[in-house]
């Protein structure tokens, strides 16, 4: 060993003098996001499994239910795909809870919290990287959907807009998942707590069937479900129909969720050791 390890009377940590600016916070977020993204190509099996499930859903719903479900005025394929896209990206947000719980359990969160970085950057970096991972899943899913006849009937611009809307919506859900991941004690708990409520939320909605045939109370729940709003907005855009106020309503939901849950998560993170 040489003498380079030595700690000295004065630390040479540039962080001692570096200002705490927004640009450093962004840089921290990016470094943290890169920590997760860098490992993606190394575990192709993770990516494979995350894309396999949506592909399975696309094919199962299309070919098993597709024949018997009739939605007036639209082919079921064109109706269904936006719903599956929405469900898949929202399901994808659970990676945030699982990943954070894992970092907590393994002590990495302690390491991050003991570094002179912007603390919210840890959560921003995590949610951003999960959104980028979700984007990859989305692209694979779009390719499969196109292969079985799905089209951007409203044109490419609106198709892209619809896709971005769903990604933004799932990004908001990543913050709910962040709070879950920071609040549970184990990865297993994060997995269950992150996933369980997603099933009623995505099925009691307009994602797979029209809410008009549901019993009145269920229909009322489904109609106010933000997931219905997002699925309807995306569906209208993909199919070139008028989304009405659904696009803005979906974005408002997303913004509201981010504000509430990002605030709560950042607070929770600051007390992660308690």
């Amino acid at each position: 060993m040489t003498t380079t390890i030595a700690t000295t009377d004065t630390t040479d940590s540039p962080a001692v003098t570096a200002p705490h600016s927004l640009s450093w916070a962004l840089r921290d977020s990016w470094n943290e996001a890169m920590r997760h993204l860098r490992s993606l190509p190394r575990s192709p099996e993770v990516l494979l499994f995350t894309t396999l499930q949506p592909i399975m859903f696309v094919l199962l719903f299309r070919y098993v239910f597709g024949g018997s479900i009739k939605i007036p005025g639209i082919s079921y394929n064109q109706y269904l795909m936006p719903g599956i896209f929405a469900q898949t990206v929202v399901f994808g947000s659970t990676f945030t809870a699982i990943g954070l719980a894992e970092d907590m359990q393994k002590g990495f969160v302690d390491r991050l919290r003991s570094l002179p970085i912007s603390q919210p950057a840890v959560l921003v970096g995590r949610t951003i990287s999960d959104m980028l991972r979700n984007t990859i899943t989305f692209l694979v899913m779009l390719a499969v959907a196109f292969a079985i006849g799905f089209r951007f009937e409203g044109g490419v611009a609106r198709g892209v807009l619809a896709t971005l809307l769903l990604l933004a919506f799932s990004y908001a859900f990543s913050w709910i998942q962040a709070l879950i991941g920071l609040s549970v004690k184990s990865v297993e708990a994060a997995n269950s707590a992150g996933f369980l409520w997603m099933f009623p939320m995505t099925f009691v909605s307009s994602a797979f069937v029209s809410t008009s045939k549901m019993t009145p109370w269920l229909r009322r729940v489904a109609d106010v479900n933000p997931f219905t709003v997002a699925a309807n907005a995306a569906r209208a855009l993909y199919n070139g129909r008028n989304p009405g106020r659904d696009v803005w309503l979906a974005l408002a939901w997303a913004a509201g969720i981010v504000v509430v849950f990002a605030t709560a998560s950042v607070r929770r993170f600051a007390h992660a050791a308690d």
């Binding site: 390890i5 540039p14 705490h20 190394r42 302690d110 390491r111 050791a273």
Partner: protein, 319 residues
């Protein structure tokens, strides 16, 4: 002025009082071992000193900065290696080190350069570009400590650095820590291994139930419980119950014995408290000169385990 100073630290988790007014200080260039059983409050103290946890009472200064009012400034000056190897196992060793460098605001080629230095210093050159997932426990620990030293911190906190390591890796870790200490790294380490504190630390604080019950050097602590003892085993062929043998032994030991110290006898074993520094050849020589025949002579020096037992009335294993 001490690099680390904690005064009257208190912390409560629900009904458990983890810390009840803990005081400690680490002088620059020294190693303080915080020694105590599981649940004594060692980790809680480290977490407060490293800004991870806010104390309910008392205050702590690290490198002249209050940990509760200037957490970010404190974080820029410390290195922490917690109980679990906090490495990202999906990344390579080099990537882990570079990441920490960037988080410490190093720019340009500096993170890479520093990572290379540390990889060499910590004997990880061969594994530098391998994903950490395949590393052994000892390698992970080394990388973990290297990550804590990226920015050459003013003080290094090691929370139970050898817990969970196999004996060989533990010895390796001790060598490593001794090396860091030799270079002047100010260190606070917690341990439940008495041997570890004895070997690595300049000063020791013994913690039990959230407060310090003793402090001093290893030798000072040992002196508190009465120093060295000679244990003599009487020969089998002699009459073990014959007082003559015992009297002869005690008489021969007189030059070494602590005046007035009691002699305890258990079967064929006699234990006599002797002055510090008494050695076996001297005792054997005196036995020979007096014509006393014994089967075995040994000198027992107290371990920190004895210290713990005498201070708390229970062993160091459970609090």
């Amino acid at each position: 002025m001490p690099v680390v100073e904690a005064v009257g630290l208190r912390k409560r988790f629900g009904k458990t009082e983890a810390l009840r007014g803990l005081d400690l200080a680490v002088e620059r260039g020294t190693v303080l071992a915080v020694l105590g059983p599981n649940g004594a409050g060692k980790t809680t103290a480290v977490r407060i000193l490293t800004t991870l946890l806010k104390p309910d009472g008392g205050h702590a200064i690290v490198d002249g900065l209050d940990v509760t009012t200037h957490p970010r400034e404190v974080r820029a000056r410390i290195g922490l290696t917690g109980q679990f190897a906090a490495v990202d196992e999906r990344l390579t060793a080099r990537e882990n080190l570079e990441l920490v460098g960037r988080f410490f605001r190093m720019t340009g080629g500096r993170p890479r350069q520093r990572a290379s230095e540390l990889l060499t210093d910590f004997d990880l050159d061969d594994a530098a570009d391998r994903v950490v997932k395949g590393f052994s426990g000892g390698m992970r620990r080394r990388l973990d400590i290297a990550m804590s030293l990226v920015a050459r911190p003013s003080v290094l906190f090691l929370d139970e650095p050898t817990t969970g390591l196999d004996p060989r890796s533990r010895l390796g870790m001790w060598d490593l820590i001794e090396h860091l200490v030799a270079q002047g790294t100010t260190t606070l380490l917690t341990t439940q291994y008495l041997e570890e504190a004895d070997r690595l630390a300049t000063g020791i604080v013994v913690v039990d139930h959230g407060s310090v019950i003793a402090r001093g050097s290893a030798d000072e602590l040992k002196a508190q419980i009465g120093g060295d003892r000679v244990v003599v085993t009487l020969p089998v062929d002699g009459d073990p119950l014959h007082d003559g043998a015992e009297v002869a032994v005690v008489a021969a030991l007189a030059p070494h014995a602590v005046p007035g110290a009691p002699v305890t006898r258990e079967g064929r074993q006699l234990t006599v408290a002797v002055r510090a520094g008494t050695n076996t050849p001297d005792v054997i020589h005196d036995f020979d000169a007096a014509g006393v025949v014994v089967q075995d002579v040994s000198i027992q020096r107290p371990t920190l385990d004895d210290v713990f037992l005498s201070l708390t009335g229970h062993g160091a294993e459970a609090s």
